[in-house]
Amino acid sequence: MTDTTQIAPHSGQWDTVIHQFKQTGQVLAALVLIYGIFFVLSPPFRSIDTFLSIFTQASILAVLASGTTVVLISGGLDLSVGSIFAVVGVVVGILLVEWQVPVIVAIIAGLATGAFCGALNGFVQVTTKVPAFIVTLGGLTAYKGVAELLGSGRDLSRFPESYQMLGSGYVMPISIMFGAALLIGLFLTRTQLGNHAYAIGGNEEVARLSGVNVARSRIKYYMIGGLMAGLAAILEVSKLNFAQSSRGQSYELFAIAAVVIGGTSLFGGRGGVGKTIIGMLIIQTIYVGLAYLGVGTSIQRIAIGLIIILAVWWDVWQRGTR
């Protein structure tokens, strides 16, 4: 056989990347447009501080949402990540404030707790085959209860200085957000397990018939979702300098909103983490922008709610036309 190792003008991988960038570009354009509108409407909005605070405020939820992206791409759903967030916050609080373990130990334990909670969701889902919506709705309440049990009667504040650095200021939270997104992005696009997320989300039966261990993979995606919820909690506890079982409430909805606004399909098989970060930035821009225009939180919620519906409608409509 002749040497058919074709050195294409550019490897196909690059075309995939370019294609991805085109889609991401649309969401990015939407972000710039929304930012521009507020920029024009509100003079105080036009500051570098506002710009940076949008990123900072987005960072914690963006970290959480990057895990949600993986779960949704694989065709799963985890409504309990807000409660996992609360559990991890309390666990890290107890470890650092009461037990005074080294910061790195607390961080690792927090991440492990998040990963375990996520994996447990996945395990229950694939073994019982109860829809993910129900399993993780149960998880939402159950993990909330765990967080309350652990956190009740405890004053989890005054964290070590070195720990407080993680989530404070602009630089650390923003770097951690981009770092986490980069790792999740590499995972999704470059690894076998990441590629299987698209396959399973796209057509679970074809994936199964192709020899993919669907159940085991799914557990791992939920585990990553929990892990990122844990990282987000670690960041927030550090930023606020206190931990409480009531934190994380409805964070899962913001995460899902960011994923969907970013353009990842709620039905699985398509999407990426970069889009999610942009989606979260869009949400924060709208929040901050409306606040500058003197619009109350209730109206902000309504606006975000409508945008979520619009984003899903767009997803459904695109599916229909393809």
């Binding site: 294609h19 076998q192 590629n195 698209y198 192709s210």
Partner: protein, 261 residues
Amino acid sequence: MGEMTQGVPVLEARGITKHFGGVTALDDVDLELRQGEILAIVGDNGAGKSTLIKAITGAMSRDGGTVFFDGQEVQVETPSDAKDIGIETVYQDLALVNELSITKNIFLGREIRRDDFLGHWFGALDFRRMENEVRDLFQRLDIRITDIYRDAQAFSGGQRQAVALSKTVMFGKRVAILDEPTAALGVRERKAAMKMVTSLKEFGLSVIMITHNMDHVLNYCDRVQIMRLGRRIAVRDVSEVDGDSLVGLITGAIDANEVRA
């Protein structure tokens, strides 16, 4: 009937039985695939053709029956088990994931990992190698698809079927099983697909092909197994039958024990 003298069949199934609730989809069905042949399976919709190959290839559990490969009994419980012994199957309507590129579809479940710590520890994939292998494969099979990094979604029915068939050459060491490979295709695409099916033989594969197209049975296949209502009604050399007798056997108008055409 000319008794089989070809030696052991490459793939053999005995007494395959499958129930769906109260429905008996397969009732004690046998199958023999000889080395190097194309065996057609024909029968009306609902006759149990798809269920038979799913039960044999581990895609579906079965309620009874045994599978032999090269005369040895084999345990095929999952799709991977079948692939491991060299059986590649293109299931009806379940060939490709729309959302994955052509390359990723072909390698789905058997991706090539990078040969470094990234590959060993993190399962990082070697896309360049996979793409080169796909281009090489397509060249050998005369498949003219160059944008192999595009989503399967973007391709025509014929192209998608070519990709699905090419997978059997890439990985099928011994047997290719095709469930209605030409069903969704236009006339010209059908011809191209059948050309590919024939060429599978040249790559050393023995082929089972489920089809509704009697011309394809008569022109491209060696033997034909006729199924009706979950049973194997008859097996014939293609030289022994014609279109009318096949249709008669499928519908039950001709009794399998009657004199042949």
